[in-house]
Amino acid sequence: MPSLKDLRNRIASVRATRKITAAMKMVAGAKLRRAQDQAEAARPYAERMERMLASLGASQQTLAGAPRLLAGTGADKVHLVVVLTADRGLCGAFNSNIVRQARRLIQDLVNQGKTVKIFTVGRRARDQLRRTHRDRLIESLENVGRRQLAFSDADGIGRRLLAMFEAGEFDVATMVYARFRSAISNVVTTQQLIPVPLPAAGAATGDDLGGAVYEYEPSEEAILLELLPRNISVQLYRALLENAASEQGARMVAMDNATRNAGDMINRLTLTYNRARQAMITKELIEIISGAEAI
């Protein structure tokens, strides 16, 4: 049986914890809104780029000399897994879910006899994967978009990936990240980055071109050669934004739960405290009374 003083101390400390988690929840909520706005604002560019790619790709599929970024290296030996997580924890199972999915993917690839390399963005992915896949981890970044994610952050990663691809360090790149669905749910998603999967052509443009065909300036290949690397950066940017929003959403939920748990705990502790206090008073009374009767 803990003493009254112990109970008082515990109640005070749980109260303090609750204050912190409640504040963190509010901060996460505010950041979530910002991240969502940013993701919203980035959507038009990605959509339009997809439309362009679709209309270009429709004619490229038949072309023999398609760029390597589109056609691949012709091999399927070395896979690069790009794992995007947050830098910070305290957001429930958010990071673990992404890492678990990444591990499964890596295991699958290894079982198929592929060579797997890992590129992590975010401290949590690095820390968790380093334990089990230290020899496969080739590069890790952290503090990406610490204050606010800029396109140049994603572009930097994209260029890095491209340089590695050009150097023949891998054949296929896949990224794992959490797609934002709502403040309380996100879906861990695996997406192939390189070779670039083409969006389904067809009703891509949504415009009535009156049967006319696109003209290309300077040429189809030249545009594609510029568009494909950009598209990788855009995909990364989108994934990073979705991830950031998901992270804040997950943190908000986790902190909400923590706040509620702390509240429950305070109630329980208060009850125990009051009982103990009552028992103490009763005990003292009995002592006094029996003392008085003895005289």
Binding site: A42, P44, R51, D207, A212, E217, S233
Partner: protein, 140 residues
């Protein structure tokens, strides 16, 4: 197909939608030369070099926007420019650009790795393009 009488012009950067309005004509600096887009233009996909986009309402230039390269998609009713960086020409500060050009050039000299060098070179190229745009289109 009915001939549209306006061009739905959109200028998008990766971070946000910058301009979206119906205009009479847009002149885009394509890699192979400037091209004007009027309503009913034939479908075209082009890369864009760093330069200035002129937006016309009627016969007047309504907006002049600097873009740092990108892509343009033109359909009879639409003109979409995907730009890496864009800002109104009037907001470019010559002094600031000259400083950043010098910075980038000195970074290029001091760069230790290829990555840094390439980065500095890109920044220098961008600043140079801004200066060129200012030179060719003096702001009144």
């Amino acid at each position: 197909m009915a001939r549209p009488d306006k061009v739905a012009f959109e200028l998008v950067s990766p971070e946000r939608l910058l301009v979206s309005e119906a205009v009479d004509m847009v002149v885009v600096p394509g890699t192979d030369g400037d091209f004007g887009v009027l309503p009913g233009h034939s479908p075209l996909l082009s890369t864009v070099r760093p330069g200035v986009i002129d937006v016309y309402q009627g016969r007047e230039v309504r907006q002049r926007i600097f873009v740092a390269g990108g892509f343009a998609e033109v359909t009879p009713g639409r003109c979409t420019v995907l730009a890496e960086e864009a800002m109104p020409l009037s907001e470019i500060d010559r002094g600031a650009v000259e400083t950043s050009l010098r910075d980038a050039q000195s970074d290029f000299q001091d760069a230790k790795s290829d990555g840094e060098r390439a980065h500095a070179e890109r920044r220098a190229g961008l600043a140079q393009a801004k200066l060129d745009a200012l030179k060719r289109n003096p702001v009144h």
